[in-house]
C-alpha cells in the first residue's frame, strides 16, 4: 500500500486523497440538492420513461388478449418471460453481494458502490418480479401461489419449485428494500439538513425517521445494519439456488442437473458485477465521481468477474461432461443439439461472451482500462442473457420425443416487455440518482476518517 501509482487500479485508493468530511458531503449531496436537471438527465429519464410506457402497453395488451401474444408454444412453454426473470434476478445479486457479503468481510472498497448497487438490486428484482406474474396464463390468480387462508383450505403445492420461488424472490425483495432503506437513513438526514427547499426538507425529514446523529442512534444503527447484512448474505446463495431449481427439479434434459444451484449463483454474481460496471462507469464520468469510484473498484470488480466467469465455465464443462458420461441419449441429444441445432448460434455466442471474453481480465492493463472494462461488462450482460435463453428455450425445444420438437421465436410483444423492463430499470435508476444520494455519504465520511487514520499510522511508523 505504500507505492500508490495512479495507473495501477489494484493499488489505487478507494477514495482519492485530499477529501474532507465536508468535501465528501458537499460533492455527493450537491448532485441531489443543488445540481440542475441537466439535458443528459432528461434524455436518460425520458428514454426510461418511454420504455416504461412500452412496458405498460405491452402488459395491457397481454392482459386483454392473453399469453398467446407471446411466442411461447408447446413444447417451448416458457420463453422470454422466464429468461428475463432469471436474468434480472441474477443482475440483482451483485448488489446484495456487495452490500452484505463485502460488508461482513469488511471490504472497505465496497463503500462507494454499495448504495447504487443496492438500488440496482432493488430495481432489477422489481423488473424480474414482473415476469413470473405476467407469464401466468391467468395472472389475476397469482395469489394462489401464496399460502393464504381460504374457505377451500387449499394450499400451494410445496413440492413445486415455483412455490419456493415465490418465497425466495419475495424474501429477497423485502430484505433488499429494508437493507437499502436503512442504509439510506443517515444520508436522508443529511439531505434534510442541507436542503434549501421546504418540500425537500419535509419529504427527506419524514424519510429520515427522526435521525439526530446521536451516538445511541449510531450504535443501534450499526447493529441493525450488520444484522440485516447477516440476513441478506445467505440470500445471495439461496435465491438463485431456488431459481435454478425451477429448472433442476424438472426431468427435462438440459434442466435436470445437480450443478445448477452453484452454477446459477456464480452466474448471478457474474452478471451482477457486469451490470454494476455497466452502470458505474458512465455514472462516475457523468457526475465527476472519479474520486469516489476509483480504478480500484473497477479493478476489483474485474477480478470478481474473472473468478465467477471461471466458475460459470466450469459449470458448462461439467454439464457437458456429465451428459456424455451418463450415456443418457436424451441428455446427450440435448447437448449435441446445442452445438448443432437451431440454437447453435446462440450457444456459440454465449460461449464467446461468457467464457472467452472474461479471459481478457487476466491482464491488469485491461482491468485498468475503463472503456474496455465497460465493453467487456456489456458483452457479459449479453452473454448471460443468452445463457438463460439457451437453457430455457433450447432445452425445451428438444426433449424426449422427436415428434414434439419445435423451435421458438419471440414476438414483438416479448421484445416490448423485455425492452420495457429495461426502460423501467433505467427510469428508476435516473430517479434514484436525482433524488437520493447515489453514494453513501456517511460511509464515505467514515472512509475519509479511516484513510486519514491509516495515513497517520503510516506517518507514525515512518
Amino acid at each position: 500500500m505504500t507505492d500508490i501509482s495512479p495507473a495501477s487500479g489494484a493499488g489505487a485508493p478507494v477514495i482519492q486523497s485530499g477529501h474532507t468530511y465536508d468535501s465528501v458531503t458537499d460533492k455527493i449531496s450537491s448532485i441531489v440538492l443543488t445540481r440542475r436537471f441537466g439535458k443528459g438527465w432528461w434524455i436518460g429519464f425520458g428514454l426510461g420513461a418511454l420504455g416504461t410506457m412500452i412496458l405498460t402497453y405491452a402488459i395491457g395488451m397481454l392482459l386483454i388478449r392473453g399469453i398467446g401474444i407471446w411466442g411461447v408454444r408447446v413444447p417451448v412453454a416458457w420463453g422470454f418471460a422466464i429468461v428475463n426473470f432469471v436474468w434480472w434476478i441474477g443482475i440483482g445479486h451483485a448488489g446484495t453481494f456487495i452490500s452484505a457479503f463485502l460488508l461482513l468481510l469488511k471490504q472497505d472498497w465496497r463503500t462507494s458502490i454499495n448504495r447504487f448497487a443496492e438500488a440496482m438490486t432493488l430495481f432489477a428484482v422489481a423488473c424480474a418480479g414482473v415476469f413470473p406474474l405476467l407469464h401466468l396464463g391467468r395472472p389475476w390468480l397469482f395469489y394462489w401461489l401464496t399460502p393464504y387462508p381460504n374457505t377451500m383450505q387449499l394450499w400451494p403445492q410445496w413440492r413445486s419449485a415455483l412455490v419456493w420461488d415465490v418465497f425466495a424472490v419475495g424474501t429477497y425483495f423485502t430484505i433488499s428494500l429494508v437493507f437499502w432503506y436503512i442504509g439510506l437513513i443517515p444520508d436522508l438526514a443529511t439531505l434534510r439538513d442541507r436542503s434549501h427547499h421546504r418540500i425537500g426538507r419535509i419529504v427527506y425529514g419524514i424519510l429520515a425517521l427522526g435521525w439526530r446523529n446521536a451516538a445511541t442512534h449510531w450504535q443501534r444503527y450499526t447493529q441493525a445494519y450488520m444484522l440485516l447484512a447477516g440476513l441478506a448474505a445467505p440470500l445471495v446463495i439461496s435465491v438463485h439456488s431456488v431459481v435454478s431449481m425451477d429448472f433442476a427439479e424438472a426431468q427435462l434434459p438440459g434442466w435436470h442437473t445437480t450443478i445448477f444451484p452453484p452454477y446459477f449463483v456464480a452466474g448471478a454474481i457474474f452478471s451482477g458485477f457486469a451490470m454494476v460496471l455497466t452502470l458505474a462507469i458512465p455514472l462516475r464520468a457523468a457526475y465527476g465521481l472519479q474520486d469516489f469510484i476509483t480504478l480500484r473498484h473497477i479493478n476489483n470488480s474485474g477480478k470478481l468477474l474473472l473468478i465467477t466467469g471461471l466458475i460459470v465455465a466450469y459449470g458448462y464443462g461439467s454439464e457437458l461432461f456429465m451428459n456424455w458420461y451418463s450415456g443418457d441419449p436424451y441428455e446427450w441429444g440435448t447437448s449435441m443439439d446445442r452445438f448443432q441445432g437451431s440454437y447453435r448460434n446462440a450457444y456459440a455466442a454465449l460461449l464467446f461472451c461468457n467464457i472467452l471474453t472474461p479471459q481478457l481480465l487476466w491482464s491488469g492493463r485491461v482491468r485498468n482500462n475503463v472503456v474496455i472494462m465497460w465493453i467487456i461488462s456489456v458483452i457479459i450482460n449479453v452473454g448471460m442473457w443468452l445463457e438463460r435463453y439457451v437453457i430455457v428455450v433450447q432445452s425445451l425445444s428438444h426433449d424426449f420425443l422427436p415428434s414434439s420438437w419445435e423451435t421458438y421465436s419471440p414476438t414483438v410483444w416479448d421484445w416490448a416487455t423485455y425492452i420495457g423492463t429495461i426502460g423501467l430499470f433505467i427510469m428508476c435508476l435516473f430517479l434514484f440518482i436525482r433524488f437520493l444520494p447515489a453514494i453513501s455519504i456517511f460511509e464515505m465520511r467514515e472512509l475519509v476518517h479511516e484513510v486519514a487514520e491509516k495515513e497517520a499510522r503510516h506517518e507514525a511508523t515512518d
Binding site: R73, W78, G137, F142, P156, P329
Partner: protein, 1130 residues
C-alpha cells in the same frame, strides 16, 4: 375461472317460441312423440326412434325417448317480420371474428393504456348476457336433461352410406359413433363421420334459399320453378336435366323414376369428382356386365394393392380395415364391436385364441402405389412408383402368377425381386389372397386385378361379385361430359343440381362454370352457398343428414334409414324433399316417402318392421345379391396394356385424407386434423421426394427440407397451378402427389383461401394422373405441419418387430422374468424402480393399451376426441406456432431406411412409417403433478391424472415437465363464442377458457356416467329383489373389490377406432382385456411403455408394431432387429 356451459342458455326460451304441436302419435307408439311442426314447411309430424341397444350401455335412460327439435331459426317468413332478423344475420358474421388479428388504432392504444392501469382482474370478468331460464311446464316423457339418447342413422358420403349411432342431448347431436350392425363400418368410424356435429352446426351453412343473390323463400322457388316449366312448354316438353351425386338410395331413386314420368324429357346425370369409374369399367370388362365387387379381408392372408387405398377410400373401408387388422394383430378379439360390447355385458372372459400366429397365418400386405397412403403405411412391402408404372408391375405380377412370365422390360428390372416374390407368395396362398386395384388406375388394370383374382381362385372366396349397388350405375365422367355437351347444344332448359359442387370439382377442360352459365334456368341444392351456387340463379340450402329423413345403401348394398335427430336448424330441404316437391309429391313428408317406399317393399307388418329397422339402423337382407359366376367366365387378360406414357415427372391426384373431395373444407376439425403421414394441416401441397425437389432446384442435398413451402408451378397440358412444395420420404422420384379439395373461393370462412385448387389441373383425359412439368417460381408459402421431426434418432419410441423374430425371441427367452408396472428386469430378476411404496388402488385402476400393429393412422380417434371433449380449433397461424389443442395426436415416425444416399427404388420403398397414437399416459409417477405450484393436476384414487381447470393458473410447468408433451394450453380463448357452435358441445365436458392447461382425461365423464348408471341399476335391482345383472368380480380380486361393478365403458377414441387399436379398461379387473394385455405372459414380449426409463410408469402402454415381411425380399423389408433403431441425427 369462467366455466361457461353453453348448453343451458337459449334453449328453454327457444323451446317456448317453438309452436307446440300436440302429439299425433298413434296409440301404439306411446313413446314416440312428434317434432314440433315447422310452420311453413311441408314436413308432417315425424317420429324419431331411439335405439334400444346402446353404446356404451350406460349413456342413456331406459331406452325410450323422443326427439325434441330445437327450433333455433324459425322460418324465413317469420324472421322477416321480426326485428331480430337483421341482428341474426349480423350475428353470423361478427366484426372481429379473428382473435389473433393484429394492428392497433389510436383509440385502442388509449383503451389499452387505461386497461393496463387496472392491470389484472380486468380480463377476469365480463358481463354475461342476460338469459331467461324457463323450465318445462310439462316434462316430455323420457327426456331427461343430461342423459344422452342414442339414435341409429346413416351418413351419406358420395352416394354410399355408413351406419352411425348419434348421441343426442336435449335434441342436440353431440357425438357420432359407428353402428356395429352396419356392414360397412362394423362399428368403426372415420374422420368424416366424427365431424358431423360440427358440420351440422357450422355457422357458415346456408340458411335460406337465395334467388340471384337475394334472400328468398322456398315457396318463391316452388312458384318460379313451376312458372319456368310452363315457360318452356310445360312438364311434358321442358328439357329438364338433373345432376346428382351417385345415388344408391332406393327412395330417392323411386322419386327420380317418378320425376321421369312427370317430365318425360328429364335426363339424369350423376357426378362425383373422385368416382370409381375405372373400377366400374374394369369390372364391366372383366365380367361382361355391370356389377359391384366386395372383398372379404377376413379370409385373405396375402393382399396385393395396386395403388388402392382400401383402408380409407372405399365405402367399405372401415369394414375392410377391421378385417385386415384382425388377421394381423396377435391379440384376439370378438367378431365385431357389437359382439365385443355384448361380450363385456354378459361377462364372458376374454380368451386368447391364437396369441402368436405363424408368419403364414398372419396376413401380409404388398402395396404398389404412387402416393403415400395409410394402406401403404401398413404394408409389409411397399413399392413407391410413378402412377404410370403400376400397370406394368401389375402385368408382370399377373404373368408370373399365371406362369406365362417372360423377361421383364428394362424399367421393371429393378423391381424384379419384388414382382417374383409377390407372385410366388400369392400363388402359395391359393384362394386366400386379394389383388385390389385403386380408383386412380385405368380400367385395364382393374380388369387385370380381377383376372389375377380369378387365376388365384379368390373369386367367391375373398372377392365377391354382386349385383350393382347403385340402381343405375353410370360412368360419372361420361355422364357429366354428356351434360356439358347437351348444354353446349342448347338442349337444356332447366338444370337442377342436387348436391355436389361441380363448378368447383368438374374436370377443368369441361369448363363447367362457363357451360352452366348458359343454361337458361338453373338451381343448386347444397349445404353451402358455394362456387356452383354462385353460378346458379337459385341456391337452395340443403339439410344436413342429421336433420333429414332418407335411406341409403352401404358398400354391399345394405340399406340404412337416415332419421333426423333434430328438426332442420334452418330453412333447408333434403334432396328427397326437393325432388318430391318437383315431382308433385310436396305434400308428403320425407318421412312418409321413405316409410311408404318400404311399406311397399314389405307389404305387411310395416309398423313393427319400420320401428325395428329404425332401432337397428340397418334393413337386414337388403345387401346386393351375389353373382355366381360360372367357372372361367372372368375374361382372360386379353386386353392390351394401356399403360399411360411415362414421363420424367408425373402428377397424381388423390382425395384428401381429411377433407375428402373438398366438401368438408369448411369443417375446422378436419382442416386442423393433421393429415396422416405428412402431418400437414389447413393446406395441400405438392408432395414429392427429396430427390425430386433437389432435381427441381428447390433444395440442396444436405437440406432437402428447405424445399418445404417453396412455390412451384405445375403445368399439366396448358393448365398451370402454383402451389408450395413439400418434401416427404416414401415418394417415388419423379412423382408429385396433390390432394384435391382445397382452394375454395366461396364455401365458408374456414374453407376459403385454404390450400390450392388441384381440380384446376384435372382434365377429362387426365383424371387421376398426368405428365407434368414443374418449375420453381419465386415465393414461399407457409405450411402448418404439426410434426417437423419424423426420425426417432435412435430412441426406442415405436418398437417394431417381425412376427418371425417374435417367434424366435419367445423361444429363446422363455424363462426370463417379466417386468411389471413400476419394475425393471436386471440380471434376470425384477427390481422396483421407485423407493416409495406404491399406492394401493382398492377400486378401479384404469389403464389403456394401444396396439400399434392395429393402428392404421386414419385419425378417427383424433376427431372423435375433439368432438367428445369440446376441443377447440385454433387456426392455421396458431398451428404454425404449434399450439394445436388435440389431446390425442398420432405421432408418425419413419425408419431411416430410404435416405438420400440409397438407390431411388430402395429409397422410396424403404421409408417405413410407424404410427403411434400419443395421448396423456396417466403416469403413475407423473412428472407434471409435482411441479404444479397450485396442485391443479393431481392423481385420482383410480389412477387417472386429473386436471382441475378451475384451479389452473397457467404456469405451464406441467407441460414443460411432461416427457410426452401431451398437455395443451389455451394461449387464447380458443373456444369460439359462435352461438350456433354452442349446441354441438358436449354438456358433460367443460369448455375451457384462456390461460388453462388441458389434456386427455381418459374420458372421465364417460366413466362417471357409467358409474352413476350402474349404481342406479344396482339399487333398482336390489329394490326389486333381483340379483344384479352385473359381472361378478373374479375370485382373486374378491374382498378387495367387493362393491364394484365391472365396467364396459369405452373412451371416445376407443369407440371411434375402426381397427380396435385402443383398449381401455380396469386393470384391477382380472377379467378385463386391459388386465390381460398388461399382465399375461403371452403379451409381455410385445408390451411396453414409452419412456419408461424415466420411471414415469405410464398406464397407457403399447403393443409393439408387428410386421410380416416376406423373407424372400430384403429391400424395403421391416428391419430385422426387434426394435428399429433409426440412427443418425438429421
Amino acid at each position: 375461472m369462467i366455466d361457461r356451459c353453453p348448453h343451458h342458455h337459449e334453449e328453454p326460451e327457444e323451446r317456448l317460441s317453438a309452436p307446440s304441436s300436440p302429439s299425433p302419435g298413434t296409440p301404439g307408439e306411446g313413446r314416440v312423440r312428434a317434432l314440433p311442426q315447422q310452420p311453413t314447411s311441408s314436413i308432417s309430424p315425424t317420429k324419431l326412434l331411439p335405439l334400444p341397444y346402446r353404446v356404451p350401455a350406460q349413456r342413456d335412460g331406459k331406452g325410450g325417448g323422443e326427439g325434441v327439435a330445437q327450433n333455433f331459426w324459425r322460418s324465413f317468413e317469420e324472421l322477416t317480420q321480426s326485428p331480430d332478423f337483421e341482428k341474426h344475420l349480423h350475428r353470423e358474421f361478427p366484426p372481429d371474428a379473428s382473435i389473433w388479428k393484429d394492428g392497433v388504432t389510436r383509440r385502442r392504444f388509449l383503451a389499452l393504456m387505461g386497461a393496463s392501469v387496472a392491470l389484472a382482474g380486468l380480463s377476469g370478468c365480463y358481463r354475461r348476457p342476460q338469459e331467461k331460464i324457463v323450465p318445462y311446464v310439462i316434462q316430455p316423457e323420457q327426456l331427461v336433461p343430461g342423459i344422452a339418447l342414442q339414435y341409429a342413422t346413416a351418413m351419406p358420403l358420395a352416394g354410399y352410406g355408413k351406419g352411425v349411432i348419434v348421441d343426442q342431448q336435449m335434441g342436440r347431436a353431440i357425438k357420432v359413433e359407428g353402428n356395429p350392425r352396419h356392414p360397412s363400418t362394423l362399428g368403426g368410424t372415420d374422420v368424416y363421420m366424427q365431424s358431423a356435429p360440427l358440420a351440422l352446426c357450422d355457422p357458415d351453412r346456408s340458411q335460406v334459399p337465395t334467388n340471384r343473390g337475394n334472400v328468398a323463400t322456398w315457396s318463391g322457388f316452388d312458384n318460379e320453378f313451376r312458372a319456368t316449366v310452363e315457360r318452356f312448354g310445360g312438364a311434358a316438353k321442358v328439357r329438364l336435366r338433373l345432376l346428382t351425386e351417385p345415388v344408391t338410395s332406393p327412395t330417392l331413386y323411386a322419386q327420380i323414376q317418378k320425376l321421369r314420368k312427370t317430365y318425360p324429357n328429364l335426363q339424369w346425370h350423376q357426378w362425383t369428382p373422385l368416382s370409381n369409374d375405372s373400377a366400374r369399367n374394369g369390372l364391366q370388362a372383366a365380367l361382361g356386365r355391370d356389377a359391384s365387387v366386395i372383398y372379404d379381408f377376413s379370409k385373405a392372408t396375402r393382399i396385393l394393392s395396386l395403388d388402392s387405398n382400401f383402408l380409407q377410400d372405399d365405402p367399405g373401408s372401415q369394414r375392410y380395415a377391421m378385417q385386415f387388422i384382425r388377421n394381423r394383430t396377435v391379440r384376439w378379439k370378438p367378431e365385431t364391436m357389437a359382439a365385443h360390447h355384448e361380450q363385456a355385458r354378459v361377462n364372458e372372459p376374454y380368451t386368447v385364441v391364437n396369441p402368436l400366429p405363424s408368419p403364414t397365418e398372419m396376413n401380409r400386405l404388398y402395396v404398389v402405389e404412387s402416393a403415400f397412403t395409410i394402406s401403404g403405411a401398413k404394408a409389409d412391402h411397399r413399392l413407391a412408383v410413378k402412377p404410370s408404372e403400376v400397370q406394368a408391375i401389375g402385368r408382370a405380377i399377373a404373368a408370373e402368377v399365371a406362369g406365362t412370365a417372360t423377361a421383364l422390360a428394362g424399367d421393371l428390372q429393378q423391381h424384379a425381386a419384388f414382382i417374383r416374390a409377390v407372385a410366388a407368395d400369392l400363388r402359395e396362398h391359393w384362394g386366400k389372397s386379394i389383388v385390389i386395384a385403386g380408383d386412380g388406375q385405368p380400367a385395364s388394370l382393374h380388369q387385370l386385378a380381377h383376372t389375377i383374382n380369378a387365376t388365384l381362385g379368390n373369386v367367391g372366396q375373398t372377392v365377391l361379385y354382386t349385383e350393382p349397388v347403385e340402381p343405375e350405375p353410370v360412368v360419372c365422367l361420361d355422364s357429366l361430359r354428356d351434360l356439358v355437351h347437351a348444354i353446349h347444344n342448347k338442349q337444356v332448359d332447366l338444370l337442377l343440381i342436387v348436391g355436389g359442387n361441380p363448378v368447383f370439382d368438374a374436370p377443368a377442360d369441361l369448363d363447367f362454370a362457363a357451360a352452366v352459365e348458359t343454361v337458361p334456368w338453373r338451381a343448386h341444392l347444397s349445404p353451402y352457398l358455394d362456387e356452383t351456387s354462385f353460378h346458379c340463379q337459385w341456391h337452395l340450402p340443403e339439410s344436413h343428414w342429421l336433420e333429414m329423413w332418407g335411406d341409403i345403401r352401404g358398400h354391399d348394398g345394405t340399406v340404412s334409414i337416415i332419421q333426423p335427430l333434430i328438426q332442420p336448424l334452418y330453412s333447408t330441404r333434403s334432396a328427397l324433399e326437393l325432388l318430391a316437391t318437383i315431382a308433385g309429391d310436396g305434400a308428403t313428408s320425407a318421412h312418409d316417402l321413405v316409410k311408404n317406399h318400404w311399406a311397399n317393399v314389405w307389404k305387411n307388418d310395416v309398423d313393427r318392421r319400420w320401428e325395428a329397422v329404425l332401432r337397428a339402423g340397418v334393413i337386414e337382407g337388403t345387401a346386393a345379391k351375389t353373382i355366381n359366376l360360372p367357372a372361367g367366365q372372368t375374361a382372360a387378360s386379353t386386353q392390351p396394356a394401356t399403360s399411360p406414357a411415362a414421363s420424367p415427372i408425373e402428377i397424381s391426384f388423390h382425395s384428401d385424407p381429411t377433407i375428402f373431395d373438398g366438401r368438408f373444407a369448411n369443417i375446422g376439425w378436419l382442416q386442423e386434423c393433421p393429415k396422416p403421414i405428412t402431418k400437414l394441416t389447413w393446406d395441400n401441397a405438392a408432395l414429392m421426394s427429396s430427390a425430386t425437389a433437389i432435381s427441381l432446384g428447390l433444395a440442396d442435398r444436405d437440406h432437402p427440407e428447405l424445399a418445404n413451402g417453396k412455390m412451384v408451378e405445375l403445368k399439366v397440358g396448358e393448365r398451370t397451378l402454383r402451389m408450395p412444395a413439400w418434401v416427404h420420404p416414401g415418394y417415388a422420384d419423379g412423382v408429385i402427389v396433390a390432394h384435391c379439395g382445397y382452394g375454395h373461393t366461396r364455401l365458408g370462412r374456414v374453407a376459403n383461401g385454404a390450400g390450392f385448387n388441384v381440380y384446376s389441373l384435372r382434365t377429362t383425359s387426365a383424371m387421376h394422373s398426368a405428365p407434368v412439368t414443374v418449375q420453381k417460381v419465386e415465393g414461399t408459402y407457409p405450411l402448418a405441419c404439426t410434426q417437423n421431426h419424423q426420425l426417432m434418432h435412435g430412441r426406442d419410441i415405436v418398437k417394431t418387430s417381425t412376427i418371425a423374430n417374435l417367434h424366435e425371441h419367445n423361444a429363446a427367452h422363455e424363462e426370463e422374468p417379466i417386468a411389471l408396472e413400476g419394475e425393471a428386469t436386471e440380471h434376470g430378476r425384477r427390481v422396483k424402480l421407485s423407493i416409495y411404496p406404491e399406492y394401493d388402488y382398492r377400486g378401479y385402476r384404469w389403464g389403456m393399451v394401444i396396439d400399434q400393429t392395429a393402428c392404421i393412422g386414419c385419425n378417427a380417434c383424433v376427431v372423435a376426441c375433439q368432438s367428445e371433449n369440446n376441443i377447440a380449433v385454433v387456426g392455421k397461424e396458431e398451428v404454425m406456432l404449434s399450439r394445436e389443442m388435440h389431446w390425442l395426436r398420432i405421432d408418425t415416425y419413419f425408419s431411416d431406411a430410404g435416405r438420400l444416399e440409397d438407390e431411388p427404388a430402395q429409397r422410396a420403398a424403404g421409408a417405413e412409417v410407424m404410427f403411434q397414437p400419443m395421448l396423456c399416459q396417466h403416469c403413475e409417477k407423473a412428472p407434471c403433478e409435482l411441479v404444479c405450484p397450485v396442485e391443479a393436476t393431481s392423481h385420482s384414487f383410480e389412477g387417472i391424472n386429473e386436471m382441475t381447470y378451475n384451479r389452473c393458473v397457467g404456469t405451464r410447468y406441467c407441460s414443460n415437465n411432461c416427457p410426452y408433451k401431451v398437455r395443451r394450453f389455451n394461449f387464447f380463448n380458443y373456444s369460439s363464442p359462435e352461438p350456433s357452435l354452442a349446441i354441438m358441445r358436449n354438456p358433460e365436458v367443460t369448455v375451457r377458457t384462456r390461460g388453462v392447461m388441458e389434456k386427455c382425461t381418459y374420458c372421465i365423464q364417460r366413466i362417471d356416467a357409467e358409474r352413476t348408471g350402474r349404481k342406479i341399476e344396482q339399487v333398482r335391482a336390489e329394490e326389486r329383489g333381483e340379483a344384479t345383472t352385473m359381472r361378478t368380480i373374479s375370485a382373486d380380486m374378491r374382498g378387495k373389490l367387493e362393491e364394484l361393478p365391472a365396467t364396459t365403458h369405452l373412451t371416445a377414441c376407443q369407440q371411434a377406432c375402426p381397427t380396435e387399436a385402443i383398449i381401455f379398461g380396469d386393470m384391477n379387473d382380472a377379467s378385463s382385456f386391459v388386465h390381460r394385455l398388461k399382465t399375461a405372459a403371452e403379451y409381455q414380449r410385445i408390451h411396453y411403455g414409452v419412456l419408461t426409463e424415466l420411471n414415469t410408469q405410464p398406464r397407457t402402454s403399447y403393443l409393439e408394431r408387428l410386421t410380416n415381411p416376406n423373407p424372400a425380399l430384403k429391400i424395403g423389408a421391416a428391419p430385422a432387429s426387434p426394435s428399429a433403431r433409426a440412427g443418425g441425427a438429421a
